[in-house]
Point group: C2
Chain length 322, copies 2
Amino acid sequence: MATSDNTVFRLVIHGGAGAINRGRLTAEREAAYRQVLAQSLTAGYAVLSSGGSCIDAVIATIVVMEDSPFFNAGKGSVFNHEGQNELEASIMEGATRLAGAVAGITTVRNPIRAAHAIMMKSPHAMLIGPGAEKFAAAQGLEIVDSDYFYTSHRWEQLQKALANEQVLRDHDADSSTPFVNTDEKHGTVGAVALDRHGNLAAGTSTGGLTNKQRGRVGDSSIIGAGTYADNHSVAVSATGTGEVFIRAAAAYQTAAQVKLLHKPISEAADGTLKEVSSLGGDGGLIVLNAKGDFVMRFNTSGMFRGAIGNDGIAWTGIFPDD
Amino acid sequence: MATSDNTVFRLVIHGGAGAINRGRLTAEREAAYRQVLAQSLTAGYAVLSSGGSCIDAVIATIVVMEDSPFFNAGKGSVFNHEGQNELEASIMEGATRLAGAVAGITTVRNPIRAAHAIMMKSPHAMLIGPGAEKFAAAQGLEIVDSDYFYTSHRWEQLQKALANEQVLRDHDADSSTPFVNTDEKHGTVGAVALDRHGNLAAGTSTGGLTNKQRGRVGDSSIIGAGTYADNHSVAVSATGTGEVFIRAAAAYQTAAQVKLLHKPISEAADGTLKEVSSLGGDGGLIVLNAKGDFVMRFNTSGMFRGAIGNDGIAWTGIFPDD
């Protein structure tokens, strides 16, 4: 355990990176997004400012975004090809490098809490499907009907994707797999935190991709891809084209550039995004080190994001020039 | 795609690392293990020597071990806490860094083929559970009754683990999770191959841990943990304490040491195993580069392993001094 008497603390969040169209985002809608981001930051700040742990801050922060219908995580998650909400999440602490991950769950209100329970209470690092749900229930986590995750705007997104898929099939009779619109905004949420004890943590939660195949797992539940934390390098949470972030081991790659090559965190993040881009993906990364330095990088038109530190001022942003 | 006219080819395999007791391994049993290892090598050699791809060689090799009841993958997989065989696998090719992974499947005879089908035919990198099984069936892969995976020796191992768990519970009433015997031999299988075209591939397949919680996913299906391949560094397959290999991003970490620090592959493998050890795990790694150099490293008392190259001589080993 780190025993630094460093009293700097910091919390950085994202609510997904993607093709966010400034023209189509009304002022009302933008204000609503920023409000949830600020609420998330405030929830994590309350933990950190009172000397709480980075892990508890990450959980408190992500739960706010999971409970909001605006983000693609928890309530508000997108639907898969079969009309189900299949959720995934992961969490990691940098002091011990303990980690927990969960995927393919449909009944746990807050997947980030399930990931944390797996990290703390199971002998395993990752649980999926009914086994994960059974474990979450046994740990006393809130279980909901799968209807809880229904939102009309996500249902409409699925219907639109299914219609586009039909169009695609009309032109490509050989296609045997669902059409996934990679242009759409990804609404994955994530947080990285540095606590007053000098420890780092990272967490990520998502509903995945609209119209994804049943059983699809993205980078958000993969330690090393969507989430990584190591006190000796950085805490990272990613969002974007999950398949490519997995193939690039995006979160670990970012940490490795800092740890092995001593790169500045901005260069490390940009190096990872460049490789993601070369493999055909896009998205963003939030990166935080044990000194409290952080970056929020993305190669999409926007990324919902925010940061807060000792001064308690919640900064939020969406577009590059925010 | 690499277009090297290098005609060197190589195949390296493992059949799990762990506490293999030389005194309790009869000569007959040892010969039987070595025979399956040699058959696996011969199957992959047939692909590589005739100019086939590294990916096809990895699949042909692993299928032999999956079909053998001796290894903890496919037929011969261990049972989870609820008496089920839940299988996982992953595969990656170094030229494109395309990857496929599958977990939580109970009806696909050869999980490595399912991982490959996901890589080639789905828009995704990882599928789990019923969604993965449905996809595998639609791709024409062989589906079996879950009874197919039953073997009496694995069933007895579960009964023994359950009995030990009961003993443990008698002394620790608070324990709410299954007892996993980390001392037992891990029988995960894996292969790394270099083909005549200069391309690398890696694959891993397992039944996981005896008495694991239902839904547990280990490193074998995690790209970056159990499997990684990049023509610009190395192909890696891991076996061992899956939870720790995930937290260490073991396969990617090994590749990163080669790519970023230009370390010799033996140092890279040992560096990863040292970190695995510091996090409380053990196991082994096979690592192969595009020149055909390879290492088979482990920090357990033994690792089932083998290698074959242009000369067609199948080398097999179990103990450190083999």
